[in-house]
Structures are given as structure tokens and as C-alpha cells.
Amino acid sequence: MNSAAKITAANLSRRTLKDKLFKGLVLFLSLITISPIVLIIYKLVEKGYRQISLNFIIKTPPNTFEAMTAVSNGELIPGGIANGITGTLLMVVLASVISIPVGVITGIYLYENPGKPLANLTRNISDILQGVPSIVLGLIAYMWIVKPITSGFSALAGSVSLSIMMLPMIVRSTEETLKMIPQSIKEAAVALGVPYYKVILRVLIPTGFSGLLTGILLGISRILGETAPLMLTALGSSVINLDITKPTSAIPLLIWEFYNDPNMVDLIWSSSLLLMGMVLTLNLVSKRIAARTK
């Protein structure tokens, strides 16, 4: 009897130990998982902060010779990434103008017609579209816009590739948001005899506004840093360009150019820092909005 109790006790302590070890392992691996974000941000700030100034935002990049001279004199590389900032803003705004209205309206359609075969098909297709690699979207915009319409690389083509990327995100976030609105609010409006478009514009959209905004901001933060599709469509430009039919730069495109030019390589950190700042701010703001409405 006594020995049996001993065995059970030993067994129990072994199990408890195993339990504690496992918890320790989970904690340890979780910490490892989040360490890259800390390390990445640290690296960007450490290497990039000195370059950030007003000039960095309002000037265009120096040519490679000027950069070389500055580096060999031990100075900061002059100039900035104004062409990238304006290009990114131009393309993101254009992509939003294309994809937000279509995305929101499609989301409303899905919400209003649950279970219809066409709605199910649209939902599935939009899910699949969301998984399409961004580089493939670049190929598509190249074939749809660069070749036939602008007959050359252009901001428009870049925006189209970004908008195809953003569209399914907005569709799904709109539908998910509207699903959370109490049915009674909508029924009250319908019972008052309000026309359907007013039910949408005055009831559904305002009630779900913060949810829609969260989806839109997350969508924008996702396309801000996209590089691959822009390499195939917007190409890049060394000057500020606001003509949507011309090649245009963007912050990620500039980072790629700096990375490939040994003289300019010091600029990658500050450019990445600025880009990360924009992306993370949008991310956190949208999370804030989402948390406040819940």
C-alpha cells in the first residue's frame, strides 16, 4: 500500500514538473516570437533617426555621386524622399478612391443577401482574391494598364494593383461590421417607409462607420508598404510626379533603389523608419477605433 502511494506521489510530482516545464516553454517561445518586432524597430531607429529632418521630407534624393561625396566626407547624405512620399500618397489615395466605394457597396450587398448563390460566390471569390500574392496583382495591372492604357509604367497602374489588393479586405470588413448592427435599427427605418438608399446612407453606414473606418485604415496600412507590385507597374521616378499616367516613385520603391545602390545605402534606414512609422500608426489607430466601439 505504502509503496503504491509513493509511486502515485512520484508520478504526480513528475506530472506537475512536466506541466511547469511546458508553461515555461510556451512563455519562452512567445517571447522569441515578438522579439523580431522589437529588434526591427530598434534597428530602424538606431540607424535611421539622424537622417530624419524637414529636408528629408521635402527634398528629392541626391544623385549617386553627391551621396558618395557626402559619405566619404563622413557627412549625412543630403536630400530626402519627397518623390517617394508624394508618390505613395498619390497611389494610395487613388487606390482608395477606386476600392472603397466598390468594396463598401459590395459588402452591403453581401450583408443584404445572405445565402443567395450569387452572394456566396462573391464572398468565396473575394476570399480567394485576398490570398492572391501581390506580385501577381502587379502582373495583372501590367497587362491591364501599363501595356494597353498608359503605354508605359504609370502611377495609375500601381494604384490599380493596390486597389485589387485592398478591395477584398474592405468587402469582408464591411460585411462583418454590418452583421453586428442590431436588425431592429434597420427595421425601424424600413417601417417608417424610408427609401432603401436612405436606409443604407443614413442608417447602415453611419451606424457601422467606425467599423468601416477600421477596415479601410487596415487596408491602407497593408498597401502602404507594398513593393513588389509597384516594381512591375509604377516603376519609380527620380523627381516628384503627380501625373497618374507617368512613372512614379513610392517610399518602398525608393528603399529598393537605395538598397541596390552602394552609395545610397545609408538612406534605407531612415526611409524604412518613416514607412514603418506610417504603417504602425495606421495600425494602432485602427485598433484603437475598433476597441472603442466594442
Partner: protein, 303 residues
């Protein structure tokens, strides 16, 4: 009284012409039309990719998939996608394997051990932020921080290759795996867990015998979706994989992936080469589409 309201209730066929243009019908029409946009875009994508890939598929046939010879030299032009298909699958599978223990731990941290606490909120936000880091920034970090580290550890080819790319890919796909599996783990009914505890089970025993089995399909679906992400990643992989157009000769060798060969060689491409790159794009589209469809199918079956 608002006239249009009255009209919208007027169902008599005599309403005829005016009934055709009442605002409700127009609104419904607009909703319907916009949902066609997505179908149209998706259909157009497949059509354009196939159309662009036809010259390459015509010249090489099925050999395009099986040939490992990628040779742009004029006169001896031959394009085979095998090196890139192999590179894509090897890097993605490796990334998935590396990320498995990490994302599993994070989902247990968020959904089980520290569910609903402040710590979980902070950790969850940080993991979500991982998804927000642009691919090119991951590439820079891999190039300037991770690669020197791996060189010190004795990795050949100046630290470039499948292994380096897979590590970065693994970090990138973690948030996609955890967002689903942590939600599913949170949803495991408390009664099930309590029943196990009352029988004297320890926490880790509850996790392995109750939580994981009942959240299994959700966890698997999350990993499949994150695998789909890894297949299409471009910039970070391009900067680290070594860009050698050969079938990788092992886990530490260099190679190239479908997405990064498109990014690398698109600039100088025309004619048959361009068509071959588009054909690779088509294959990549189909591959990610199938993987994502499987993931969504599992999610749908869970209800």
C-alpha cells in the same frame, strides 16, 4: 407625404414604366452591379494570366513545369519553372515548420494561459504588428542583421539561401497562423476543460488532451492559410534566397522562388521570357488559390 415611398409599395403592373425606375430598384441594381465587379476582376485575372502564358505553354508544353533549365540566351532560349516551383515549396514548407512551435505557443499564451489579461493584449498587439511590417523591411533586417549572424554560425554562400529566407518567412507568417487558432482555442467550452481538471489533469494535460483535439481543425486551417501567405511572399525572399535559378541542392543551398523570379527578371523581359514569367504567375495564382480554398473549406466545415 413622400411620393417615392408610396411608389415603392406600388406593386401593380400598371405602375409600369415609373415602377421600373423607382429608387429601391435602382439601389438594388447598384448593389448587384458592384458585386459583379469582384467576379469580373477575378475572371479577368484568370483570363489575362492564361492569355499571357499561352506563348510559353505552347512552346514548352508540360515541359515548362518539369524542365529545370532556365536559359534566356538568345537562340538557346529555354524556360522551365521547376527550380522556382521547388524553391517556393521548399522555402514555404520550411517556414511553416519553423513557425509551428512559435505560433502554437503564442496561441496558447493568448487563448489559454493568459486569456483576457493585459499581458495577452500587449502580446497580441505586438504579434499583429508583425503582420504590418512591410516585406521589404523584413528583407533589410534579414540582410543586415540575420545574415551576418548566420555567417558567424558557419552558413555557406555568404548567408544567402533557402534557410535564411525560410527564417524570415516564418516570422512573417506567424500572425496569420495565430489570429485564427487563438480565436478557436479561446472558444473551447469551459465545461470540457473543467471536466478534465476535476479528474486531476494538469494544465498541460488539459491542453494536449482537451483543448488541442477540440480546436484541431481551426489550428490546422490557420497553418494552411499562413502557408498560403508564405508561397506568395516576394521582396524579403528575393533579398535573401540567393536568386540562383537552380533546384536548391539542400536546405542550406541557394535557390529562387516563383514570386522572386518574377520580381527579379521582369524588368528586362519581353517576348517568350515575359510570357514564361506570366506563366509562373499563373502557376503561383493557382497554387495559392488551391491552398487558400483548402483552408477556407476546413473553416467552413467547422461551422
Amino acid at each position: 407625404m413622400n411620393n417615392s415611398t408610396v411608389k415603392s409599395f406600388n406593386k401593380s403592373p400598371i405602375g409600369g414604366f415609373r415602377g421600373l425606375f423607382n429608387s429601391d430598384k435602382i439601389t438594388k441594381g447598384v448593389l448587384l452591379l458592384s458585386s459583379f465587379v469582384i467576379l469580373f476582376v477575378a475572371g479577368g485575372m484568370i483570363f489575362s494570366l492564361v492569355e499571357g502564358a499561352i506563348p510559353a505553354l505552347k512552346s514548352f508544353g508540360l515541359r515548362f513545369i518539369w524542365s529545370n533549365n532556365w536559359n534566356p540566351t538568345e537562340g538557346k532560349e529555354n524556360y522551365g519553372a521547376l527550380p522556382f516551383i521547388a524553391g517556393t515549396i521548399i522555402t514555404s514548407v520550411a517556414a511553416l515548420l519553423i513557425s509551428l512551435p512559435l505560433s502554437f505557443s503564442v496561441s496558447l499564451f493568448l487563448g489559454e494561459y493568459y486569456r483576457g489579461t493585459r499581458m495577452a493584449k500587449i502580446l497580441g498587439t505586438m504579434v499583429d504588428l508583425l503582420a504590418g511590417i512591410p516585406s521589404i523591411v523584413y528583407g533589410l533586417w534579414g540582410f543586415y542583421v540575420l545574415r551576418p549572424l548566420l555567417i558567424d554560425l558557419g552558413l555557406p554562400n555568404q548567408g544567402f539561401g533557402i534557410f535564411t529566407a525560410s527564417i524570415i518567412l516564418a516570422i512573417m507568417i506567424i500572425p496569420y497562423a495565430t489570429s485564427l487558432s487563438n480565436e478557436i482555442i479561446t472558444m473551447v467550452p469551459n465545461e470540457l476543460k473543467e471536466a478534465a481538471y476535476s479528474l486531476g489533469a494538469t494544465r498541460s494535460e488539459v491542453i494536449f488532451n482537451v483543448v488541442v483535439p477540440s480546436a484541431r481543425s481551426g489550428i490546422i486551417a490557420g497553418y494552411i492559410l499562413s502557408f498560403g501567405r508564405a508561397l506568395g511572399e516576394t521582396m524579403a525572399v528575393t533579398m535573401l534566397v540567393g536568386n540562383a535559378n537552380i533546384v536548391p541542392d539542400g536546405f542550406f543551398g541557394t535557390g529562387n522562388t516563383m514570386a522572386s523570379v518574377i520580381a527579379n527578371q521582369f524588368g528586362e523581359a519581353d517576348g517568350l521570357k515575359l510570357s514564361s514569367l506570366i506563366a509562373i504567375g499563373l502557376l503561383l495564382f493557382l497554387l495559392t488559390g488551391i491552398i487558400n480554398a483548402i483552408g477556407k473549406f476546413i473553416i467552413k466545415r467547422m461551422g
